[in-house]
């Protein structure tokens, strides 16, 4: 039996009066990669954005139910605290254009005004960039602007930026959908390496990607969690007809 880091209870999310997530009960295993798949508009991204409470930044958005992180309901915690424990990487690489590579990595500390010694910061920058598999490419140009990197490098810079905060969970919202196959493959490698230290939840449109890198797969359809289990089982012997049809490309 795996130990779970995040557990939701009857999680509902709304945009205005539209119910986007319908009573989601899911348990995310620690130090594993969990993939959330499903057709467009099924609520994958919304579910991801509930975990770090970004969902509620949209005017009119609302969350009901419980999301337990290590047993604490994150809906009752300060969202700022939650977001420091749960990092996020977005669909489009979004390094801060006015900051150098170095400053991008420690952006979380700069934003919060957390004072750290120069040595400590150097250390954070180096280890985060190494974890994100970017160190060797940028170690000689740390003070150049992050936007001059390629798309794949920018996305790894964003991963490093999230890792610098030492999160327990890393959320990724279709992180490779804007990248070429080679950059995507490299990011997949990085993620598999990362799960030793951090729990990863990845939303993806790319079923093959979910099959390659995830340990668990959740299939969402029309706001409901249709199927959830070890990726092998979900992919080879889905219990639900919808899941089977989606995985075999009958709809998408």
């Amino acid at each position: 039996m795996e130990s779970n880091i995040i557990t939701t209870r009857r999680l509902r999310a709304y945009y205005g009066f539209d119910l986007i997530l319908k009573d989601i009960d899911i348990s995310i295993p620690r130090n594993r990669i969990t993939a959330i798949i499903g057709p467009s508009g099924c609520g994958k991204t919304t579910l991801l954005r509930c975990f770090n409470r970004l969902h509620e930044l949209t005017p009119g958005a609302k969350i009901e139910g419980k999301i337990l992180l290590e047993g604490n309901d994150i809906l009752k915690l300060n969202p700022i605290e939650v977001r420091r424990k749960i990092g996020m990487v977005f669909q489009k690489p979004n390094p801060f254009p006015n900051m150098s590579i170095y400053d991008n990595v420690i952006a979380g500390y700069k934003l919060n005004g957390t004072k750290q010694s120069k040595e400590k910061l150097d250390e954070i920058v180096e280890s985060s960039l190494k974890k994100a598999g970017l160190w060797n490419e940028v170690k000689d140009s740390l003070y150049k602007k992050g936007i001059y990197l390629s798309g794949g490098q920018q996305q790894r810079l964003c991963i490093a930026r999230a890792l610098a905060m030492n999160p327990e969970v890393l959320l990724l919202d279709e992180p490779t959908s804007a990248l070429d196959p080679k950059s995507s493959a490299y990011i997949e490698e990085v993620l598999v390496e990362l799960k030793k230290t951090v729990t990863i939840i990845i939303v993806t449109h790319n079923i093959a990607q979910a099959g390659r890198i995830s340990d668990y797969t959740a299939f969402l359809y029309l706001g409901r969690l249709i199927e959830f289990g070890p990726t092998e089982k979900v992919f080879t012997a889905p219990k639900n007809l919808q899941t089977e049809r989606y995985l075999s490309g009958k709809f998408g």
């Binding site: 770090n52 970004l54 930044l57 005017p59 700022i80 605290e81 977001r83 420091r84 990092g87 996020m88 977005f90 489009k92 979004n94 801060f96 254009p97 006015n98 952006a107 979380g108 700069k110 934003l111 919060n112 005004g113 964003c158 930026r161 999230a162 905060m165």
Partner: protein
């Protein structure tokens, strides 16, 4: 192949555009030619002397130059906190809704109020208040002067900076804001470290526009600056600006050299505006490259 209609159309826009350029060039040339007599008469001391004595044919415009620069800078300084706050409110907090439209309309309206009305307001409302403050501070209670004029100018230029700054703030991509929030930043931290740095070039352009407006403002300033042709000794002292001096003295200018001197003031005002505009553009370029 170009049709005949295309050619006529092209000819017309060329004609109109070149007319605009000719008018601008003509203005420059007229200003320069008509100020030649005073430039010959005074030499460099036209700009460097602070002795403005038309009766004795002494025309040193330094007091006006200083007055213009001080009132403009001071008004920018006063207006900046208000215009930037308004821009942040409208660009970040109140992006939609009736309240946002209402506020935006008020700001647009502020830009449309004729300057003589600002002058009236300054004279009737602000001058008595400033006088009371001056009495408290134990200085001569003129009421009118640099300080009062700067406040009125500040009020007049707020909408220019605020509108442009609001525009560029709302153009900051949302995914950058979200990246900040996802790192655990508060709203204030996102605004301070992400939104403002990203929008700073645009905000600076707005400030530049406001400066151009302040430097050439005539009517409102003339009513409350005190029209004293001396270099002001404090910010509460009456003074004069270039635009205000021209407007005030043109009807009194009886001799040819006096008229030429006032046109010369216009030439300098024009050149100061050009210099500040180009300096501003240079700074904007530098900001963008960095």
């Amino acid at each position: 192949m170009e049709g005949i209609k295309d050619r006529i159309f092209r000819f017309l826009i060329f004609l109109c555009a070149s007319t605009v350029i000719l008018i601008a060039a003509g203005m420059c040339i007229t200003l320069f030619i008509n100020s030649l007599p005073v430039l010959k008469h005074m030499g460099v001391s036209f700009i460097l002397s602070s002795d403005w004595d038309p009766v004795n044919n002494k025309f040193g415009i330094l007091p006006f130059l200083v007055g213009t620069l001080i009132t403009s800078f001071l008004s920018l300084l006063i207006s900046l906190p208000f215009s930037i706050s308004t821009a942040i409110l409208l660009g970040e907090y109140l992006r939609k809704g009736r309240m946002a439209i209402f506020l935006q309309n008020i700001i647009d309206l502020m830009a449309g109020i004729p300057s003589v009305i600002y002058g009236f307001w300054g004279l009737l409302v602000l001058v008595p208040i400033v006088q009371k403050v001056e009495i408290k501070l134990n200085i001569i209670p003129y009421g009118v002067g640099i300080f009062t004029a700067s406040i009125v100018l500040a009020t007049m230029v707020i909408p220019y900076t605020a509108s442009i700054a609001r525009e560029v703030i709302s153009l900051v991509p949302d995914d950058l804001r979200e990246a900040g929030y996802a790192l655990g930043a508060t709203r204030w931290e996102v605004i301070r470290c992400i939104v403002i740095p990203h929008a700073k070039t645009g905000i600076f352009a707005g400030v530049l526009l406001a400066f151009g407006r302040a430097i050439g403002e005539t009517m409102a300033v003339t009513m409350i600056i005190g029209n004293r042709n001396q270099i002001p000794k404090s910010i509460f002292a009456p003074a004069n600006t270039m635009a205000s001096a021209i407007a005030n003295q043109f009807t009194e200018a009886t001799s040819d050299i006096y008229v030429s001197a006032l046109i010369g003031v216009g030439l300098v005002l024009f050149m100061v505006t050009v210099i500040i505009n180009y300096a501003g553009r240079y700074i904007i370029k530098r900001l963008e490259i960095k």
